[in-house]
């Protein structure tokens, strides 16, 4: 809860162990969550199956709102797992923060700009690849100069700015949330009992707000992903 990340250098590149451990924790949580909810599938769902069916319906609705059925069928699994992963990754820093020896071990992986820009780059490259596969090479390059060749620099700048804002939006929200949690914790333990009592409701309100913000940011990321993919694939 303070302190910096564990990093080590290998072949001249810096590796961040904190992000690796946090990402691994998110993967384990997502796996056990989905595995546990999807046992005993029946025709009439009850209990956990309802939750997972509601989730899949939710993300399928996002995809169906942007693309038609046969294009959407290729991407609905990806959008579902992307939404669940980013949602759990955003909430992890509110539930569990582990530090050891002055370094952070577990926090939200999405509080690091490298992780969120990686997600955003993966999504943008996927949209370009889907456009290339669907429209062919000529169609893909023709889209950059449609409706006129003057739009070429605007389209290129739009790609770069989509990539940057998609990644940095989540980073800004989650990092500011965690930073403020840390500051409130420091304020709580600074002067003994009065500040602990005073900052307890403030910290609870801020954690509730951060849960809300994390969910909204995951939803916005997934919606913008489907918008970008559908624009490349069908061009409108």
């Amino acid at each position: 809860m303070g302190g910096d990340a564990y990093t080590f250098n290998l072949f001249g590149l810096t590796f961040n162990i904190t992000n690796m451990i946090s990402g691994l924790v998110v993967c384990v949580i997502v796996f056990f969550l989905l595995f546990g909810l999807s046992r005993h599938i029946q025709m009439k769902p009850k209990g956990g199956q309802n939750v997972i069916e509601w989730l899949i319906d939710f993300t399928n609705g996002i995809v169906r709102g942007q693309m038609n059925r046969e294009v959407g069928a290729r991407f609905s699994y990806f959008i579902f797992i992307l939404f669940v992963f980013i949602f759990v990754a955003n909430q992890l820093g509110l539930i569990l923060q582990v530090g050891w020896n002055g370094h952070e071990l577990v926090k939200s992986p999405t509080a690091d700009p490298v992780i969120t820009l990686t997600f955003s780059l993966m999504v943008i490259v996927l949209s370009h690849f889907a456009g290339l596969v669907n429209n062919g090479i000529k169609g893909y390059f023709a889209e950059f100069v449609s409706p006129s060749a003057l739009m070429l620099p605007i389209n290129l700048i739009e790609e770069v700015s989509n990539f940057l804002t998609l990644g940095l939006r989540i980073f800004g929200n989650i990092y500011a949330g965690e930073l403020l949690l840390g500051l409130l914790g420091q304020m709580a333990f600074s002067h003994g009992w009065p500040t602990i009592i005073a900052s307890l409701p403030v910290e609870m309100i801020w954690q509730g707000f951060s849960v809300f913000i994390g969910s909204i940011q995951a939803y916005v990321f997934v919606t913008l992903t489907t918008v970008y993919i559908s624009r490349k694939v069908s061009g409108d």
């Binding site: 804002t165 940095l168 939006r169 929200n173 939803y219 919606t223």
Partner: protein, 70 residues
């Protein structure tokens, strides 16, 4: 000097996000009053709009935190 810079950045971020969110949400409320049957879709679009608008002012807050102690 870092504290002054952080204060200016945070104030500009608060103004920008308040004004932008206010425009989106007030137009959403107007549209919901006109057509109550699509209130659900309007609410969804409002949340997407608020999420998009708050993206860059949050970066201003992050900048404020970074320069706060310099």
């Amino acid at each position: 000097m870092g504290a002054i810079a952080a204060g200016i950045a945070a104030a500009c971020a608060a103004l920008a996000t308040g004004y932008g969110n206010g425009l989106v949400i007030s137009h959403t409320v107007d549209s919901m009053a006109r057509q109550p049957q699509i209130a659900g879709q309007l609410r969804t679009t409002m949340f997407i709009g608020v999420g998009l608008i708050e993206g860059v002012p949050i970066l201003a807050i992050v900048v404020a935190f970074l320069v706060m102690n310099k």
